[in-house]
């Protein structure tokens, strides 16, 4: 089975700025893949090149074996892209806009039933005949997603789809996207909500300054960078008389909260015992696991 998306040593320069600097990546079919990175890392440029909104300076990109430049018509049939910005055509209503979009892909009136199904599944039925201008931000976001689906693409790319979306709608959108993934669609998403990427994506690539700094399954990545931390909130005595045996652990302190990096679980007993001997009271205690955000911050150097 051909991979859903392949980037082969892709570079994109804007003048002297290397927006994408030699990325190679293969995303298998059926994957739920996350593309993470701070602003300016090159995520949107990668997506833009995939959809033909920008041409790579060098390298090759293919969608299910179709080169996005040489076989651009076939490649674009295979991918549906949800852009990051809330853009819309102010002249038309939702249904008209979706039918036009399907028509550009050569879909005839027979496809109208699918358009109606997409409208239903995204809860847009009540707004189907409303002009795009009159929709709320959340509704516009749904219409954008619908627009990417009208030609039934096997690969769906979502560029920050939940930016500025309220929690309820975000949950709805994710359950819809998960359903699509279960139906066999390959999903690629960029998001700033790392907990979502952690919950949804099987694999992630982390980008920094146009380069991939990590590429693995989400589970492996979390395992690889796994650290356990102990957070203790201590009384005022700790500031003056924290025992040396406790100071030997790597820790940070902020507003009376001490976060110790543990090498193994028995360190907890050692720390608490030493504090007890020094008569320093423990007000609160919590163990903290590594999440994708910690991995992301470590790898991208973001603060």
């Amino acid at each position: 089975m051909k991979p859903a998306i392949v980037y082969r040593n892709v570079k994109k320069n804007y003048g002297t700025v290397k927006a994408v600097n030699g990325i190679s990546l293969s995303i298998p079919q059926g994957e739920f893949f996350g593309l993470l990175g701070p602003n300016g890392a090159g995520k949107s440029t990668m997506i833009n090149m995939l959809g033909g909104l920008a041409n790579p300076s060098s390298g090759k990109i293919s969608v299910m074996g179709r080169d996005v430049q040489k076989e651009y018509q076939e490649a674009r049939h295979l991918v549906g892209i949800v852009p990051q910005e809330l853009v819309f055509d102010p002249f038309f209503n939702v249904r008209e806009m979706l039918r036009f979009q399907a028509g550009y892909f050569g879909k005839s009136r027979e496809n109208d039933r699918w358009v109606d199904e997409v409208i239903d599944r995204l809860d847009l039925r009540d707004k189907a005949n409303t002009n795009m201008r009159a929709l709320s931000g959340g509704m516009k976001r749904r219409a954008l997603i619908a627009q990417a689906l009208v030609h039934r693409p096997p690969v769906i790319v979502l560029d920050e789809p939940t930016a500025g979306v309220d929690v309820e709608l975000r949950q709805k959108l994710w359950s819809f996207i998960k359903e699509l993934n279960k139906e066999g669609h390959t999903i690629v998403l960029t998001t700033h909500y790392l907990e979502e990427a952690e919950a949804l994506c099987n694999s992630v690539a982390m980008l920094r300054l146009g380069k991939i700094v990590a590429l693995d399954t989400t589970r492996n990545l979390l395992k690889k960078f796994s650290t356990k931390n102990l957070m203790l909130r201590l009384n005022f005595m700790a500031k003056k008389s924290l025992p040396q045996s406790v100071k030997n652990f790597s820790y940070v302190e902020s507003d009376g909260a001490y976060i110790f990096q543990l090498k193994n679980i028995t360190d907890i007993a050692e720390i608490t015992e030493a504090l007890k001997k020094s008569k320093i009271e423990i007000i609160d205690m919590q163990t903290l696991d590594t999440d994708l955000e910690n991995v992301f911050l470590k790898l991208t150097g973001a603060k």
């Binding site: 018509q73 076939e74 674009r76 853009v87 002249f91 036009f100 028509g103 550009y104 879909k107 005839s108």
Partner: protein
């Protein structure tokens, strides 16, 4: 996956959308230029009808109509493609077109056909209103058809170039005010170039709008300032050159895919 049928449907969809786009705001895109054209006609014919006879046996008001029709046709053909593209670029919804499998030729044909349609529609409206009270012969209908088609196409292509090139509305307004408007006004809509000093006659003959209007007028009266065949050749040549530039721009993705 990509067949002739899907390409025809794709092109037709874009054409239909472009037609519907100007029809939705017909008050601005059709009624306004028709009223402007009729006002020109009423004022100039009222002032000059009894004083001026450009061609023998042709009243000035009749002489004026073909020029006004063609001027409106050209301006509206230009406006259709240019405004559609600049709006889509500024609003950002151009991505919906760029993400589709529509080829540069499909984009070209759809935008061009919509421009020609709007130009001709506005021209026909002015004609139908004008003939209510002015007698206007049609000597060579094929010339009318060819000049309307080529003129609309030429300006449609020019509109695509402007729409692709401009990044802001003020740049587009400059195109209209400093290029299209002077070329229209100095093209012989209101006069025969034979009434101008020799030097100005020469300058007028460098203006492609002059040939479109003069040739179109020949279709009505069988009379023109220069040979209609020469005019047809000039207009066809300009159409081919501008189409070539437009297609090259769309193919390269200039200011669209970067």
């Amino acid at each position: 996956m990509v067949t002739l049928k899907t390409q025809i449907i794709g092109t037709w969809t874009l054409l239909k959308k472009e037609l519907l786009r100007f029809w939705r705001v017909a008050f601005q895109t059709v009624a306004a230029p028709v009223i402007t054209g009729i006002l020109y006609l009423l004022i100039f014919s009222h002032v000059l009808d009894s004083r001026l006879e450009v061609y023998e046996g042709v009243p000035y008001s009749a002489f004026l109509i073909p020029g006004l029709i063609m001027m409106s046709l050209l301006q509206n053909a230009f406006s259709n493609s240019s405004s559609s593209l600049i709006q889509a670029k500024v609003m950002g919804n151009i991505v919906f077109l760029l993400l589709t499998p529509l080829s540069y030729l499909q984009l070209f044909f759809a935008f061009l056909a919509a421009s020609i349609a709007r130009g001709i529609f506005v021209g026909v409206c002015i004609y139908l209103i004008a003939i209510i009270y002015i007698d206007l012969p049609i000597e060579h209908p094929w010339f009318l058809f060819l000049f309307a088609l080529l003129g609309g196409g030429l300006m449609g292509a020019f509109g695509i170039i402007a729409g692709v090139w401009c990044e802001r509305f003020d740049q587009m307004a400059a195109f209209g005010n400093f290029v299209i408007m002077p070329l229209s006004m100095l093209s012989g809509v209101f006069y025969s170039i034979h009434s101008l000093p020799v030097a100005w006659q020469g300058i007028s003959q460098l203006n492609p709008f002059f040939y479109m209007i003069d040739g179109f007028r020949f279709g009505f009266f069988g009379k023109s300032d220069v040979s209609p065949y020469f005019s047809l050749g000039v207009v066809a040549l300009f159409f081919i050159v501008l189409s070539f530039i437009t297609i090259r721009m769309l193919k390269s993705g200039f200011k669209l895919r970067n």
